[in-house]
Symmetry: C2
Subunit: 625 residues, 2 copies
């Protein structure tokens, strides 16, 4: 059975259709106040005792009966300890026969238990009345109050030691799929690690629920039926992950329709379209798509508001910012698109860099600084347009994000970590745009630094490009490039001439990358046309990905870094050494951030790290060229 | 030994003097990824496996060898299952002899294992390359990264099952004081409940530390010395609470000076001045003042930045808002004053209401929506001035705060809770300003509602005042007032005439309160001058506090609500019934919020709650007058 058309219901409408059918009834739990932080009060909480429980001195001084000091208005009055006054410290209870305190600064101690005062005391002056802070019977906190540390203090101050709080909703997390295996298990061919469940559990906990991770269920209709039935019995909300689309192996909607009622199947959102919202025994059951980005976004769209409505809480508005797009965003109308972005500020301008849009791009959720929602009726935005985005990180963190563009080098993430070990308020936002792309971004003011190859032949291609820009050129490392092949080089690849042989598949690097330029140079040297090379148009974004393609046998050869070959235990035939350089905008170089960056770059620790990479020579690291 | 002068060092400078002497060395802990949420990475984390681990189909369709489909460019091409293609689902591994996928929508199934296509496949099209999402060897996260749920997913996706994270700092919390007893214990005269420790533990946990609550230590120099020595051995940071001033029983600075070095004693801040910052064996030891507000503020000033520097993290900037003061704030220059405020919006204007400033005003921290810092050189602000404040609650929550001003009534907090049980986004911000104060606030647009007594005699005092304001007048309840005395009425108080007797002490209510007006009327009726009444000038802010004064014997009589007498089990002699009314600004009454408020006010549940209070009659509750 294959359902071909899903609904296309806007997220808000889909949520409403589910939510209006549900009414949650949280229970009341009594918990010790010390453990009640983060919980929500179930009822108004009244003080059971007053604080202070007795009238107490608000000052260091002497306690007196005010009426007995009236004579001090006529001139200095002597008082005798024990009879007329007692010494009292701040917080001490006021004796029952006293009604005022005179500050020690206004008292002359004459010795032998005699003191002198110049003014009469005023009744109840410098006295904290019983209940002044918290009065017995007073409502300390209303119902539905989220308990913060200061609230716990107020409860204890009012003599409350146990608080009535709302029970937390229990949310079942059921990962489904015959191909998924628990984290830590060996992953066979065709298998993938189940990790959405861990992410879901993390979010659910953050949102105030108890995640109930119920273990992986294979793609079998009976197994799913059993798992869902049990979860509906034991939990308040059920989340099934994957199988929510309408393919032959997507059993979710069928099981949910059988056990209850499917309210929505398919929302007008990209990614995240194949969502099933259902009701079983009055409980909400969410079938969410399996691709990580779709999964996390749809969990937030549907599970989070359910949890909020459990407590009756309203969602907090997200922080937003206005940023300028560095690339166009083109979408098909008809559904709301959710574009993850990196953000960064160069000079004053906040730039937005759209990230890879694939629903499976796990790292795009990790790298994202913000989310751009493109409304269903829009076709997108052009380069340079200002867009309103929802922030995932604080504005301060974004302001300290250093933007790096250009040639991919695996040592840069290591440099970032070293910088953060000194000052974690900084982060490095890396875009692999190739050497030419880096130069262009620097020119346009869209990054602080560009990483480039500066080889002999076309070495100074950037100098003309950059003639109007004030920048500083730094040597990072000499690094070795060469042919990467399977271990033992079974196809005996010795040079560019071998790339034209039949049955040899290349994996290339993107246009504008220095390595691709080198490859073209090598081919030209041998008189080989790119069209003669199988795989010439197949592009791997990074050196590691190119090596990965060779490692898993989908390509026979790549031109790349020795360090990448070594990561995968591949054969490496050296071709050339090249200098990897960083161009820094002078305004950045001269800033505090730039100074910290250069300090780390020139540190002994980084030099050592650099030279631990095969094929790297860090002798001149940090030299200004 | 009494030290008389404390230092007066600005907070920032005091922190700097301590911090520059400290260097923390967190350890590296290995924790399972599923438990690593909220922790901070100790080193860069690299993927140990690729995701996907193999080339996989990105679509439902058929897997083919692209080169073998070239003929489709000339016209429809038939392919045979098993020989030329296999059916493949999204996520399935691509067989080693295939290099492309054709979407099922582009395939005509002719039956018997034969399909027809119209276009050649393109190599690697609709294929997710191995490592496309995460590549083995790639740095997934840098050092010093705070792990969020999505990060855990990325780590697991990259085959990482244990993460190296920084150890958390262990912070000793040592409550000191011979008068304090643990929560839950019976509180004797002169004793107070220890609750700052619970608040401290809550904050420290929120800030990423492990609070180590070490139990109450009496005010004895040896006991404190032992406790501090042990804590310094076992913890990274030590916090002593109370005893940080310079009084005769304030041992903190003496012990710290003896065991190490006192760096600062006294900061230029109100409240919170008596702070001791010390170093023992290179570890920071904070002696913080005991009054709750001083304690919490100074913990945030000093412990929080220490924890942040443990991780190397920068503080996030606080959210701020601009609000208009409804009352003047007058301070002495020389120290930064920290004024807690309530905020609320009426029509468009954001009003700020300074809260009680006492260092011991525990509830002021609970009720506060914001904090106003008055710089050391300032003498304060005038009514109507706009001030910049730091928000404790979200702007949305503040916008849904209903401002209530006027006569104190204990049923109002109950009404608030009922409203929140329906919609917890609302809160009620109550100021007991007396009936006249309420009318005035309503007139000035500083509240949404005013609560008033509307008695016969001067019943309509507000109508002239309010003639230019559009408002709605609602009956809330008829309530009984009378004389509140000790149980059994030992002094035999029967009426206003008894208040002029010697040895009878009154506790009165504030000026502008309806109850005080009633008392004045009663005294006038008996020809008694206020000056003849002992305690006439002593004011208790609420009915409960007045009853509390009678209950603990500091006053013999109060005029107040039967409900307040009953809370404390006191004697009550009825004097009069009066109507308690609420005046609502018409703009509020007609708003959504006003509608919800009226719904609750007129609900059966509220009527029942109302009538459970002794002396209340809710028959006409909710009537528009």
């Amino acid at each position: 059975m294959r359902k071909t058309v899903l609904d296309n219901i806007p997220i808000v409408e889909a949520l409403y259709r589910l939510q209006r059918r549900i009414s949650f009834h949280p229970e009341t739990e009594w918990v010790p106040v010390a453990d009640a932080g983060g919980r929500v009060t179930a009822e108004p909480v009244r003080a059971v005792s007053s604080m202070p429980a007795y009238p107490a001195s608000a000052m260091d001084g002497i306690a007196v009966r005010a009426a007995e000091t009236a004579a001090a208005s006529q001139g200095p009055l002597r008082l005798r300890e024990g009879k007329d006054f007692i010494f009292i410290n701040t917080g001490d209870p006021l004796p029952a026969d006293k009604d005022a305190v005179i500050m020690i600064e206004r008292v002359r101690e004459l010795g032998e238990g005699i003191v002198e005062i110049d003014e009469p005391a005023i009744a109840w002056k410098h006295v904290r009345q019983a209940g002044e802070d918290v009065t017995r019977g007073e409502v300390i906190l209303p119902s539905r109050h989220l308990l913060r540390p200061v609230d716990l203090g107020a409860l204890l101050a009012g003599g409350v030691t146990e608080a009535a709080v709302l029970s937390k909703p229990r949310v079942a997390v059921i990962p489904t799929g015959s191909e998924i295996v628990p984290p830590g298990k060996e992953v066979g061919r065709g298998q993938i690690i189940e990790f959405n469940g861990t992410v879901f559990a993390g979010f659910l906990k953050e949102w105030g629920a108890i995640p109930d991770y119920r273990g992986i269920v294979p793609d079998e209709i009976d197994a799913i039926r059993r798992a869902v039935s049990a979860a509906v019995q034991e939990c308040d909300i059920v989340v099934l992950n994957a199988g929510s689309s309408a393919g032959t192996r997507d059993y979710t909607w069928r099981v949910l329709e059988e056990l209850g009622e499917v309210v929505v199947h398919g929302v007008a959102a990209r990614p995240g379209k194949p969502v099933v919202l259902a009701l079983i025994d009055g409980k909400p059951v969410l079938g969410l798509p399996g691709y990580p980005v779709s999964a996390y976004l749809s969990l937030e769209w549907f599970a989070r508001p359910l949890i909020q409505s459990w407590y009756g809480l309203e969602p907090e508005e997200k922080r937003t910012a206005t940023a300028r797009l560095t690339r166009p965003v083109t979408v098909k109308p008809g559904a709301t698109d959710h574009i993850r972005l990196r953000l960064g500020r160069v000079d004053k301008e906040l730039h937005a860099f759209p990230l890879s849009r694939g629903a499976g791009a796990t790292l795009s959720m990790v790298r994202a600084d913000a989310l751009l929602r493109v409304p269903a009726e829009s076709r997108g935005f052009q380069t340079g347009e200002e867009v309103q985005v929802e922030l995932y990180r604080s504005p301060e963190a974004i302001d300290r994000s250093l933007l790096f563009s250009g040639s991919d080098d695996p040592v840069l993430p290591c440099l970032e970590s070293m910088l953060r070990e000194r000052d974690p308020s900084f982060s490095l936002s890396m875009e692999w745009t190739g050497s030419l792309g880096g130069v262009e971004a620097l020119k346009k003011g869209e990054c602080h630094m560009a990483g480039i190859h500066a080889r002999g032949g076309r070495g100074c291609y950037f100098q003309k490009e950059m003639k109007d820009i004030s920048y500083v050129r730094i040597h990072l490392a000499k690094r070795r490039l060469g042919w990467i092949t399977a271990p033992g080089n079974p196809l005996n690849i010795q040079g560019a001439e071998d790339l034209a042989r039949t049955r040899i598949d290349l994996v290339n690097r993107p246009r504008r990358s220095g390595t691709r330029m080198l490859l073209e140079e090598l081919l030209e040297g041998k008189g080989i046309e790119p069209a003669m090379v199988s795989g010439f148009s197949r592009e791997a974004l990074t050196h590691l990905r190119a090596a990965s393609a060779v490692a898993c046998g989908t390509a026979d050869v790549a031109l790349g870094l020795e360090a990448a070959a070594s990561t995968f235990g591949l054969e490496f035939l050296p071709v050339r050494e090249e200098n990897y350089e960083i161009l820094l905008r002078r305004s950045f170089y001269e800033s505090d951030a730039g100074e910290k960056w250069m300090d780390v770059l020139r540190s002994r620790g980084f030099r050592q790290a650099l030279e631990s990479y095969p094929g790297y020579d860090g002798t001149r690291c940090g030299e200004v060229l």
